[in-house]
């Protein structure tokens, strides 16, 4: 396998973006990524697009956005791994270069979710498990899948609703500083606890918003990095993935995601590093319980000690391992196909010490970062390790 570097990144403003359509929103991520990499669309040999769709009008999004962004002619593929679609696009583009097949490839993620109403979203994502056995007769909602994990985690480890609220407070704090975030509003533990119940024990502020957004990543071979004289390439040390069963009833337990444990182990092994080497991480906090389980599944703490990490402030800047200092899915927003690429955008900026604003910059010594992106409720998991 050849070495692969991130040489350019771009991220559209996340939020309710009914001022732009799918292609226009993607353009807002792709053009800055081209500029960052000092390339044009003609240099890109292969494009992998992470996008789930159904909430926007296009059936062939990768073709539509590639035409609009001047990428027609490149090899195209659309990748689906639910909320980890962006990471599956990254993995696909990574393998295209690592294999020696191409020298410049792009991973793009886009989701345009606000063209339909929230209840239609509930209807569509409620089916993101096994339709016949979970939705048809029982009306599972997406928050409900994670609520089942929250209940189990609280019962087994004594994690509290306040602990869940603390995740939300932290992520809102950093989103408030991040210009591209959906929400620019700090909240308190009290606000979170008093917000309406969505799927007990999860409340409104335990849930990520429904967001429009796009992010783009330009990848290159080592040969191309030298040829283009890239001054700060960020190397992909490993991209690992794993999966869990469609039916929650066929899982090992409800206090963690086995797919995340397996993907993390593989990613650390392939990169030759340990969880304690990671200096900044983005983890999949679609719901607050998901961030606590991620700490444990990745190995930032022991199983059952995730709540302790958030209580002690260890996942804030200045703590043992800063997590989601871009605001996370919770408050930066979760345009589901874009999230995986947006995580790489954030970590690339962090590793280049270009976090915006400077107050969000994590101090670095080893320059190692990790992205953890879950699709569905642990149906898919991708873990990517980056190093400058």
């Amino acid at each position: 396998m050849r070495k692969v570097a991130v040489i350019g990144v771009g991220n559209a403003k996340f939020g309710v973006r009914q001022d732009v359509n799918l292609a226009e929103l993607t353009f807002e991520a792709v053009k800055p990524a081209f500029e960052d990499a000092s390339i044009t669309g003609k240099d890109v040999e292969f494009v992998a697009l992470g996008s789930v769709g159904a909430w926007y009008e296009e059936s062939l999004p990768v073709v539509v956005v590639s035409e609009y962004c001047g990428l027609s002619g490149a090899g195209l593929v659309r990748c689906e791994a639910a909320c980890a679609s962006g990471s599956s696009a990254l993995a696909t583009a990574y393998l295209d270069i690592a294999s020696g097949h191409d020298d410049i490839a792009m991973a793009i993620g886009v989701e345009k979710m606000r063209e339909v109403d929230t209840s239609t979203i509930l209807e569509l994502i409620g089916r993101a498990g096994y339709y016949l056995w979970e939705f048809h007769n029982f009306g599972m909602t997406f928050p409900a899948y994670y609520a089942l994990h929250a209940t189990a985690h609280m019962a087994k480890y004594g994690t509290t609703e306040e602990d869940l609220a603390r995740v939300s407070v932290k992520n809102h704090k950093y989103a408030n500083m991040n210009p591209i975030a959906h929400f620019h509003r700090e909240i308190t533990v009290k606000d979170a606890l008093e917000s309406p119940v969505i799927a007990w024990p999860l409340k409104l502020y335990d849930c990520c918003p429904v967001t429009d957004g796009a992010a783009a990543v330009v990848l290159a071979s080592e040969k191309k990095v030298k040829e283009l004289k890239v001054d700060t390439p960020v190397w992909i040390e490993s991209v690992a993935s794993s999966s869990g069963t469609a039916n929650l009833t066929n899982r090992e337990n409800y206090v963690g995601l086995t797919a995340a444990v397996r993907a993390s182990k593989r990613a650390f092994k392939d990169a030759g590093v340990n969880p304690s080497d990671v200096e900044v991480a983005t983890v999949h906090d679609c719901f607050t319980i998901a961030e606590i389980m991620a700490y444990e599944d990745i190995g930032f703490c022991k199983k059952g000690e995730g709540a302790k990490l958030i209580r002690e402030g260890q996942t804030e800047i200045g703590g043992k391992i800063p997590v989601n200092v871009d605001g996370g899915l919770k408050a930066k927003g979760h345009p589901i196909g874009a999230t995986g690429c947006s995580m790489i955008y954030e970590l690339t900026k962090q590793l280049r010490e270009e976090a915006n604003p400077r107050q969000r910059q994590v101090p670095l010594k080893k320059y190692i970062a990790l992205a953890h992106n879950v699709g569905g409720t642990g149906h898919y998991c991708y873990v990517t390790i980056l190093r400058r």
Binding site: L122, N137, G139, T141, A152, P196, V197
Partner: protein, 145 residues
């Protein structure tokens, strides 16, 4: 000041419904009408499967037999849903639970007849077959008195 939404163009509508084949596991749905809950057991490797399957994911054998479940189980986790999908709007808020049955399989279903504040992980429940007032076959957990 109220923000004016940007201009949009409404697409042509699309409605999708699917006819899901059930012939290979029809015995499960027929059983419910008789008040029984069946699971499949692989005759080759002995694995019990819920949801029922025609083909064994463990050994890939398609030689299955139907086994009736006792229904006795214990709640492993649960949630309560006040914010429902549009196709569930006509129902009261519901509790969804996952229980492990005596036979070893887990089932996800509604839990009825118990208040949310009285629902606990570890609670003993019974899985029962049911036909809804609309005539849909289903199954649910009820507390053991």
């Amino acid at each position: 000041m109220e923000k004016i939404p940007p201009p949009t163009l409404r697409s042509r509508p699309i409605t999708l419904t699917y006819d899901i084949p059930t012939s290979k596991i029809q015995k499960f749905w027929d059983g419910i009408k008789e008040g029984k809950i069946f699971v499949t057991k692989c005759r080759n490797c002995g694995k019990l499967n819920f949801p029922p399957v025609a083909d064994c994911p463990a050994c890939l054998s398609s030689d299955m037999e139907w086994v009736k479940l006792s229904g006795d189980g214990e709640i492993e986790t649960f949630t309560h849903i006040p914010v429902k999908p549009p196709t569930f709007q006509s129902y009261d808020d519901y509790t969804i639970a996952i229980a492990r049955l005596k036979e070893g399989v887990r089932v996800l279903a509604w839990l009825t007849g118990v208040k949310l504040t009285d629902t606990k992980v570890g609670m003993k429940v019974k899985l029962v077959a049911k036909t809804t007032p609309e005539g849909t076959p289903t199954y649910e957990f009820v507390p053991i008195k």
